[in-house]
Symmetry: C2
Subunit: 212 residues, 2 copies
DNA sequence: CTTGACAAGTGTACGTCATACACCTACCGT
DNA sequence: ACGGTAGGTGTATGACGTACACTTGTCAAG
């Protein structure tokens, strides 16, 4: 049932995934769902944990950097498959087992690679912030492929009221550039990710002595 | 009226801010609101633009780094004042004037500091992703001050089912650490922010030649 | 001073949402 | 044969966004 709920949300968005549409999808009456979940919040908890279960856990060991990279890419992909999950991942008050396991694996990878406690927390925090935020923007921009981004930008450019040209010159420049070149989210994501990982690597010894 | 809506949302959350509660707050009947906004989506658009208007615009000039830092801190603060705004900031299909101005100022600061077009986009993307994502986590963790975080962590620690101890050792360690030390979001935020800005600074020349 | 247009507020009503509560039914181990 | 239980049903309630028709206060043009 959780699987079905995820599928419905993937298909019609989180607002379209109502107890009614979900029950219809399952061929039962809405109230039947309440034999399996306490309420909708509980249902969302379960759905979020399914998303967590799709995220590759970083393995412990010395090669923390490539493990972090792998996990980050995997998390972004999961958030891309389930766009509705973005705002729900971190706010759960009752984290499911996959959620707990994912966070445990994250900290475990870093700590076992020699990170101090506080360095590991800093790193987790910064990386996850970047990934969530990136996925948020990705969802918000309203296109997915580079070609699509060009089309959207061209469309926007042609719709501009002429006053905008003087008011927001840099924005216009961006729209014009985008309308020709396009924008690849994956390249963009990995660029920022590597930048962040570089920063972690470089600052690690300093933090390691500062933290306990 | 938009101001009142923002105030209500700040007070009772975005779910509590219904057309009914807002109208009650204003001392009118719900339908009266529709003389000022087309629908609720339109209302949200206006509210988001108010949040944007509270974000300090970076000035153009050579000192892009401190301007970026100032704007980033300001954006995080605005998101902290209006926790409901987090998921709504980037997804607007009809961005308001303050929104456009904010993005224009962002790009303008970088480009006028000598960033290539694509470097400016990379930087904007990475910084905003970090800020949104950080604010998202901040909202999700359920406490605000360092002392509060200690209390929450202590509480969590005492509620753990014993099986969790072996399953999630690193998570337990974190909860235990937190229950004594606490966690300062502002320090955490600025640490990651500076890390990111360092990365931008270091990679800038390389990107500048790569981009067009 | 009247008029009439327009901005703002009102009242009622509808369809959709989550969900409480009482009821039914098929299957299982005893 | 029987009683418990997991799962499904039917009806109802209150909150939500908002469509539609109506009233009122204000103010410029005649």
């Amino acid at each position: 049932m959780l699987i079905a709920a995820v599928a419905v949300a993937d298909r019609v968005g989180i607002d379209g995934m109502t107890m009614r549409t979900l029950s219809q999808d399952l061929g039962v009456v809405p109230m039947a769902l309440y034999k399996h979940v306490a309420n909708k919040e509980d249902l969302l908890d379960g759905m979020v944990d399914i998303v967590w279960s799709e995220v590759a856990a970083p393995a412990q060991g010395p090669d923390w950097r490539s493990e972090m990279r792998r996990r980050s890419v995997s998390l972004r992909q999961a958030l891309g498959r389930h766009r509705w999950a973005n705002g729900l991942m971190e706010g759960r008050m009752r984290p499911g087992p996959a959620n707990l396991a994912a966070h445990n694996a994250m900290l475990g990878c870093l700590r076992s690679a020699g990170f101090s406690f506080s360095t590991a927390v800093h790193t987790t925090s910064a990386l996850d912030a970047y990934i969530y935020g990136f996925a948020l923007q990705e969802r918000g921009l309203g296109f997915e492929t580079a070609e699509e981004s060009g089309a959207v930008a061209r469309q926007k450019r042609d719709l501009q009221p002429p006053a905008a040209m003087e008011l927001y010159p840099y924005l216009i420049e961006m729209v014009v550039e985008m309308s020709r070149g396009g924008y690849d989210f994956t390249v963009e994501f990995e660029t920022g990710l590597d930048l962040l990982l570089d920063g972690v690597e470089r600052l690690r010894p300093e933090w390691a002595t500062a933290g306990r």
